[in-house]
C-alpha cells in the first residue's frame, strides 16, 4: 500500500481567524490516521497560474471523520487564492509528507515553543501527547507573536487544558518579550529534564537553537524551505547541515534535532 497519496479532498469547513489567518478542514483523507505531528501536506492551488503546490503543516486530525485541518496565513498568491475558496470546494492534497517529531519520554518535561503561524505542528504534538496520557503538568506550551492578535486560534489550544504561556513583543498578552526570553524566564537551568520542540519564524528558531545549545537541552525544530515537489525528488528544498553537506527539508525534515542544521 502506498505510504503517500494524492487525493482530492473537500473543504468541509473554513474558518476565518482574522488578520488573514484561516483554518480549513479537509476530508476525506485516507491517511488521516497516519499523520504524525510535524508532518505536512502539499496542496495544489486550484489555478494554473500558481505552478507549485504549497506546503502546510497538519494542524489537527479527526481520524473518525477522516478529516485533517490546516491553518494558513495569506502571504502571497497561493495563500490568497486558498483564502478565496469556499466550503465544498475541492483541493488536491499530496501527503502525508516529512518525518515528524520524536516524542519525549515520560520522565521529561516538554517545552513546546510556537511562534505565529508556526503553531499548527506544535498544537498537534501537544494533542498527541495528551492522547497518550502524557502528564499535563509536564507540558509547557509557549506561544509567541508580535501582538496578542497574532496568536491564532488560542481557544483551541486552551481546550487542551494544558499550561499555555503566551509571549508578545508588545506585551498585549502574557509575557512581554520574545518566546525564548519567556522560556529563559521560566527555567533557569535545564538539568537534563527538559526537551524542547519549536516551530515558528526563522529568527525564533535560531534563538531557540542557541538557547537549547546553551542550556544543553535536547529537542527538535520544524524548519521551512520553499518546496517544489515535497517528495524529495527535485533537490530544491535543501538547507546546509552543521556536519557539512545538504539536507532535503521535505524528506529528511522538516523536523531536525537542535544544532543539526546551520540556521
Amino acid at each position: 500500500m502506498s505510504r503517500i497519496v494524492v487525493e482530492n479532498l473537500n473543504i468541509i469547513k473554513k474558518t476565518d481567524l482574522g488578520r488573514d489567518n484561516y483554518v480549513i478542514d479537509l476530508a476525506p483523507f485516507s491517511k488521516a490516521g497516519a499523520v504524525k505531528p510535524g508532518r505536512f501536506i502539499h496542496v495544489k492551488i486550484p489555478r494554473t497560474d500558481v505552478f507549485f503546490r504549497r506546503a502546510f503543516s497538519v494542524y489537527d486530525i479527526n481520524p473518525g471523520e477522516k478529516s485533517i485541518s490546516i491553518i494558513f496565513k495569506v502571504l502571497g498568491r497561493g495563500t490568497a487564492l486558498l483564502a478565496g475558496l469556499r466550503n465544498g470546494d475541492s483541493l488536491s492534497v499530496l501527503g502525508p509528507l516529512g518525518n515528524g517529531f520524536n516524542l519525549p519520554s515520560t520522565r521529561e518535561t516538554a517545552i513546546l515553543a510556537a511562534g505565529g503561524i508556526g503553531m499548527p505542528p506544535i498544537y498537534l504534538l501537544a494533542k498527541k501527547l495528551l492522547e497518550k496520557r502524557f502528564d499535563k503538568t509536564k507540558l509547557l506550551f509557549f506561544y509567541g507573536g508580535a501582538s496578542g492578535a497574532d496568536l491564532v486560534d488560542i481557544r483551541r489550544i486552551k481546550k487542551l487544558g494544558l499550561k499555555l504561556l503566551p509571549a508578545t513583543e508588545d506585551g498585549t498578552l502574557g509575557f512581554k518579550g520574545v518566546v525564548t526570553d519567556a522560556i529563559r524566564d521560566k527555567i533557569a537551568t535545564a538539568d537534563g529534564k527538559f526537551r524542547i520542540y519549536a516551530c515558528g519564524p526563522e529568527g525564533m528558531l535560531k534563538a531557540v537553537d542557541r538557547l537549547a545549545g546553551e542550556l544543553r537541552m535536547p529537542g527538535q525544530l520544524s524548519l521551512e524551505a520553499p518546496m517544489p515537489c515535497g517528495l524529495g525528488v527535485c533537490l530544491g528544498c535543501i538547507r546546509p547541515l552543521a556536519a557539512g553537506g545538504y539536507t532535503r527539508v521535505c524528506r529528511e525534515g522538516p523536523v531536525y534535532n537542535i544544532g543539526e542544521v546551520l540556521l
Binding site: 502506498s2 525528488v233 527535485c234 535543501i238
Partner: protein, 304 residues
Amino acid sequence: MTPDLSVEIAGVKFKNPILTASGTCGYGEELADLFSLSHLGGIVTKSITVEPREGHPPPRTAEADSGMLNAIGLANVGVDRFIDEKLRFLEKHDTVVVVNVAGARLQDYIDVCARLDDCPRADMVELNFSCPNVDWGMEIAKSPTRAEQAVREINKVFSRPVIAKLSPNVSDISEIARACEAGGAAAVSLINTLVGMAVDIDTRRPRLTNNTGGLSGPAIKPVALAMIHQVYGSVKTPVIGIGGVMTWRDAVEFFLCGASAVQIGTALFVESDAPVKITAGLKKYLSRNKIRNISELVGKLRKY
C-alpha cells in the same frame, strides 16, 4: 481489444512509452512510496558523475509562469554509491532502468559508462550533453564533431544502447542529433531545459544563486514539440520526447510529432502520480480511436 502500449526502442522493450525524466525522480526510491515503479515504462535516473556532487547552494529552484527554473548543479551520489545502493534498489523493479550520465570532459563519461557496463540492469545510458547549469556542460552539446566523437567513444565502453540527450540551447538541434546518430546513438532524447532567469525585485537579486537556471514544465512544451518534429524529420534513430508533458493529451501531441516514447519531468513535482494517470489516459484514447498499438501514432501528423 485492449490496446498495446508497449514500445521497442533500440531492441529494448518498454511495457509502455512513459518514462520519468532525469533529475525529477531521483533514483526511484521516493516515487515508490506513491506508486509501484512497475507502472513505468522506464525510469531515467538523476545524472550520475564520477564523484559525488553536492550541487549549487540554495536557492536553486524558483517558480515560473507555467513551469520552473532549476540550477541544481548535478547534485548526485556519484557512480560508486549509485551502483552499490541505488541500482540495487532499482533492479528489484520491473521497469527499464536508464542511467543518465554527465561529466566535465569526455573521459568522465567514459569512466562512468565503463563502470555501468558491468551492471546488467543499467539497461541503457542516457548522455546528458546538455546541462545548462554547470559551466562545462555545454561543450559537447554545442559542437557536432565533439558530440559525434563522444557518442562513438562511449559506445566502445558501453555495450548496451546509448541515448544522447540534446540541449535546446543550440542554434541547430537537428545538426547535433545527426552527429549523435553518426556516432552510433541508439536514440536521441530531447529537450533538456532552456536557459532562463528570474529576479526578486525587492532584493534585486536573481532568484537563483547560479543567476540563470533551466526552464522546464508546460512553459516549454511548444518549444519541445517544434524541436521533436524537426529532429524526427532529420534522423532515423528513435526520438524520445521530453518537455512539459503534464497529461495524456500532451503525450499524444509528442507521439504525433515523432516521439516513440515520452519522459515526464516537472509534472512529477505537481502531479506526482502523473505517469500512472497518463498511461491510463493513453489506453483509453487508443481504445476510443481503435488504434491497436501506440507506435501507430508516432510521427502521424497530418499535413495541411
